[in-house]
């Protein structure tokens, strides 16, 4: 009986895997991942979710599967640490709990716990270090000036409490490197060398830096340098050159420099016309130029639509950043008789305008398919 049952399950999984290969979409990936979770194959489920998220970076259902599995694994530890904090709070327990939330990707929760730890134990460096590291993760990924400024403040506070903290020196050096403050970066790396003389990669970096000539302290304040990084959407110093990259350093989410196959994108976007209710679609490059678009007969003029998409993107992105919610992923606007979706993928902006009978979830699927088939493939080609 058990064998028959196992065989049935295996056939079911095999069918779902075939479905993913034949018709990849956020829904087929999610169905497979969810089934694997139900069967207790959690590692496989995370693998499938990761693969799906690589193609469809904004697929909420896949992100939930991954979070569910991770949460399941960490729930016991979180509960225990929360109980410890109730009974006998220590700086270490605050830092450990914040670290668990960081691993789950709940940065807000992690920052809130680190802030509580810092408030409760102002003379302990661990909570400040956690705040600094989380903000650095965010700065590396999203290049938001506010994250850099808070990271720098928190890391400096760590060094005020313990000037021998190597991690804080290293992360401070990194943030200065990323905003182009060479003198400050090398000063902290020299401290790292004094504390850990065997750090070969740091010694190498310093030697290479010396060949570039003397590093003069800059007059403009750190906030302005970080602001310049945000405005340019590019780091002043190359993150890959920095020694000992941190674990959270998976690079900026913007795919700067990826070559685009404009004719293929135009052909693919022309296919949007096949969907009833789809009025406008546009793909803008990082400079805001139209790469591909589609406009139905009753649609907004193409240039006007591109302008509208860029304006909505900028307003939404600015609001999200200033509210400390990160950068824009997607904006959905619903009004009487019209819907607008604006999303950003790898530094490119996609906007669609649609009306009945097109439904919002169907429009979002179309956009995600376009992203996965056109932008991921284009990126792979350019990387090859």
């Amino acid at each position: 009986m058990a064998l028959v049952e196992r065989l049935k399950r295996w056939r079911d999984i095999a069918r779902l895997r075939r479905q993913v290969r034949a018709n990849p979409s956020p829904a087929t990936y999610a169905e497979l991942a969810e089934r694997l979770v139900a069967l207790g194959e959690e590692d496989d489920a995370v693998g499938v979710a990761d693969e799906g998220l690589e193609r469809y970076p904004h697929a909420d259902r896949l992100a939930h599967v991954r979070l569910f599995v991770k949460k399941g694994r960490l729930t016991g530890q979180i509960r225990k640490l929360r109980e410890d904090l109730q009974r006998r709070p220590t700086p270490l327990a605050f830092a450990q709990l914040a670290q668990l939330y960081r691993e789950l990707g709940s940065h807000d929760e992690a920052l809130a716990i680190a802030a509580q730890g810092a408030e409760r134990f102002p003379l302990s460096e661990s909570s400040y270090l956690m705040q600094g590291e989380i903000r650095m993760d965010r700065f590396r990924r999203e290049l938001i000036a506010k994250d850099a400024v808070i990271a720098e403040g928190a890391l400096r506070q760590v060094l005020r409490l313990n000037s021998h903290n190597v991690t804080a020196h290293l992360r401070l050096a990194e943030v200065y490197h990323l905003v182009g403050m060479r003198a400050e970066c090398t000063a902290h790396l020299r401290e790292v060398m004094l504390l850990t003389p065997d750090a070969a990669d740091v010694a190498e970096f310093l030697a290479a830096d010396e060949t570039a000539g003397p590093a003069l302290p800059l007059e403009d304040p750190f906030e302005d340098r970080a602001g310049a990084v945000q405005s340019a959407a590019a780091f002043a110093g190359n993150p890959a050159q920095f020694p000992s990259p941190a674990s959270g350093g998976d690079g900026p989410s913007a795919g700067a420099g990826a070559a685009l196959d404009a004719p293929a994108l135009r052909t693919a976007m022309a296919g949007f016309a096949d969907h009833e209710g789809m009025r406008n679609a546009v793909l803008l490059d990082q400079a805001g130029k139209i790469v591909a678009d589609h406009a139905a007969t009753d649609a907004i003029a193409r240039n006007h639509f591109a302008e509208l998409v860029a304006e909505v993107r900028d307003a939404a992105d600015d609001a999200a950043r200033r509210m400390d919610q990160g950068s824009l992923v997607r904006a959905d606007i619903e009004g009487p008789g019209m819907n607008l979706v604006v999303t950003r993928v790898r530094g490119l902006t996609i906007g669609v305008h649609f009306a009945e009978p097109m439904r919002a979830d169907a429009a979002w699927e179309i956009v995600q398919d376009f992203t996965a088939h056109q932008l991921t493939a284009g990126r792979e080609e350019s990387d090859a």
Binding site: H107, A315, D318, M323, Q325, L328, E334
Partner: protein
């Protein structure tokens, strides 16, 4: 109105909510500690104003609802007549179940008719 917001904030993943007039004045708010009321209100009002202006300029009707998904949070701005309901949520929250709570709160705010500050 504060009671409505308090109830809304009990939904899983909601970090805070506030009601704004269309020119950005806060009528009522209930926000988590990490959210600054002034910043959230100013930025929400700015995003709403800028988006409405853009839609109008390009010949589109006003919006009833604006959902903003960012890398570390989600926000929903809902038209509630003379005001807007602004809800800030965790990034990982599934919008479906919270939507019911938001719509219910929005309807109750709309039904309050006029604003008493």
């Amino acid at each position: 109105m504060r009671r409505i917001l308090k109830q809304l904030n009990e939904a899983v993943g909601v970090k805070g909510s506030l009601v704004l007039t269309k020119d950005g004045i806060v009528v009522a708010s209930h926000l988590a500690r990490q959210l600054e009321e002034d910043v959230v209100a100013a930025m929400a009002a700015n995003a709403i104003r800028a988006t409405r202006k853009s839609l109008e300029r390009h010949g589109l009707s006003d919006f009833a609802r604006f959902t903003l998904v960012a890398s570390h949070g989600k926000m929903v701005f809902t038209d509630t007549g003379p005001t807007f309901l602004v809800v800030v949520m965790d990034r990982n929250v599934a919008l479906g179940p919270v939507d019911i709570e938001i719509e219910s709160a929005a309807m109750r705010i709309r039904n309050m008719g006029k604003i008493r500050v």
